[in-house]
Structure formats: C-alpha cells, structure tokens
Symmetry: C2
Subunit: 162 residues, 2 copies
C-alpha cells in the first residue's frame, strides 16, 4: 500500500497536537507514515533543540517517541488506517542508549507489539546515520470520554485505564 | 536553606538545554528549585502546548519530567549544590495517570530515591490544582566524556552505562 500520513487522517478536531498536529502552526511536525506493518518518520531537529552543545535534547526525543508511537498504534489497530482512532498516551518509556548527535535527520520506526485490553503497545526506535540511539515504548489508550468532549475539566479525573 | 535555582548553577557551557537552559532564548524555561531535600518547579504551558483541545501535550510533560528530574538528581548528589554536576538522562519513564488540563500552572516535585553505581534515580510528580496527573522516573548519569567535549561525533557511540 501507498504509505499513509496518519496524523493527517486524524479527525479534524484532534489535529492540534503540539507534537504532530497538522492544524497547529507551532507544532514540531512529527509525521508518521504507515505502510501496513511499520510506522516510519523522519525528523530533523532544529539548532535550538539541544541538550548540551552538539546533541539532541532528550525531551524532544521523548516527544518524537510519543507522537510517532501513538500514531503507529492508531494505524495498527484501525479497521481502516485511513480513519485511525485518536489514541492518547497512557505511559511512555525512553532509553537513551547513547547521545544523539544534533544535525543529521533522525529516522524513526515503530511497530505494534502487544494488545493489553483496549490498550496497544508500540516499540519505537530512533536512528541516526544507521545507528540506533534511542529505544522507546508507548502504551496507547482510547481517548477518554471527557477528553473527547473538548473541554478542560475543572479538576483532573478519568484514569487512563482499560 | 534558601532554595537554589539549579539550572542557573550549571557550568556555563551546559546552560543551553532546550528544556531548561538559562542561556537558550527558545528554551521552555523549566526552573528547578532545590531546598536540600526536594526539587520543586512550577510551569505554565502555553496554549500551543496542547494534545487535544483542553489538555497538555504528553511530550511536554515528559520534557518537564526530564529536565526537572535531572536537575534534582544533580543537586541531590552534588558535594555542593551551588556547583551541581551536569548529568544527562539515561532513561525516562512517564505514566499519564489522567489527562492534564491545559491552563492552570503545573506543580512539579522530585526526590532522589536510589543510587545505581554512578547513576541517580529520581521520582517526579506533576500536579494540577492539588491532584497528581503524571508520575515519572528519571535515571540520570554523568555526562559522557565525548559529550563534554562539546563537539558532535561523526557517529553515535559511548553508551550511557556506569
């Protein structure tokens, strides 16, 4: 199949994400392409996305793992990946195997590895110039009903459980 | 003791972090205050830091856990917290207990809970209006020698091990 840009397939009201939302002009611009088996993305950090001089900020790498993992989960569990559900992140793990140099494009891959009830588990890798520098795991869950209502609650509630 | 702003105590060459660097004009501006036992920070996300309408982006929350956890680790293990070492993140775990509403200030606390060889483990909590919405764990490690040399290597290397 022709790879699908998953974030552009999200329902319009859920396209505002700071990491990957196609309708958020200040978004980082993570774009996940799904080929039916693997989610792939390429991302080139900006000069300001630094941790210490010459290396990529870990929080940015975590953000890439998050958005790319959730989009891959949505595509993988969708009846039709052209209409993926909008999932949210229940948990995120990121291992920084070695420092990620700032400059070259980062290549991301993600694969669905497990279903846990209504949750989906995705493994993500970030590579630079052919070497894996980051491994991540995202547990994605259906969007809670009160988030779907598009209004902030007066106080936190609705645990992200199955 | 008067709470110390840890990121302003980092060596000048390590103050450029995109999350918390006091010399990076585009930084998010995470500021960790250390009182001798607990790291505390307050952060108010901007309107663009959204996941879906009304809620904070998970990658931003992961970034807060990262910078605040590393700074707390540095302060906690320093001989003199006025001169903290610049640590880096070896791994990061974030649990999104419930959606975090976008708007109110976020309150962060962090505590050193374990030493693993040269690594330091810190538990971080993010609260909104008195309720914990995010729990995180950061494993911080001494900055690898080749990162300290302030030049990007030609390829990734130097695993972040003890």
């Amino acid at each position: 199949m022709e790879p699908l840009h998953i974030q552009s397939c999200y329902p319009p009201q859920y396209q505002c994400c700071y990491g990957c939302g196609v309708s958020n002009p200040q978004a980082l611009g993570v774009a996940t392409f799904w080929d039916g088996a693997v989610g792939r993305a390429t991302f080139t950090p900006k000069p300001e996305h630094t941790a210490v001089p010459g290396f990529v900020y870990g929080g940015l790498l975590a953000s890439l793992v998050d958005c790319h993992g959730v989009a891959t989960a949505a595509a993988a569990i969708a009846d039709d990946p052209r209409h993926p559900p909008r999932l949210v992140t229940a948990s995120l793990q990121v291992q920084f195997l070695c420092p990620t140099p700032l400059g070259p494009p980062l290549e991301l891959t993600a694969r669905l590895t497990e279903r846990r009830g209504r949750k989906a588990v995705v493994q993500v890798e970030i590579s630079v110039q052919g070497s894996v520098t980051v491994r991540g795991e995202v547990v994605a869950a259906p969007i809670p009903a009160h988030m779907a209502h598009q209004a902030a609650p007066s106080s936190p509630s609705a645990p992200l459980t199955d």
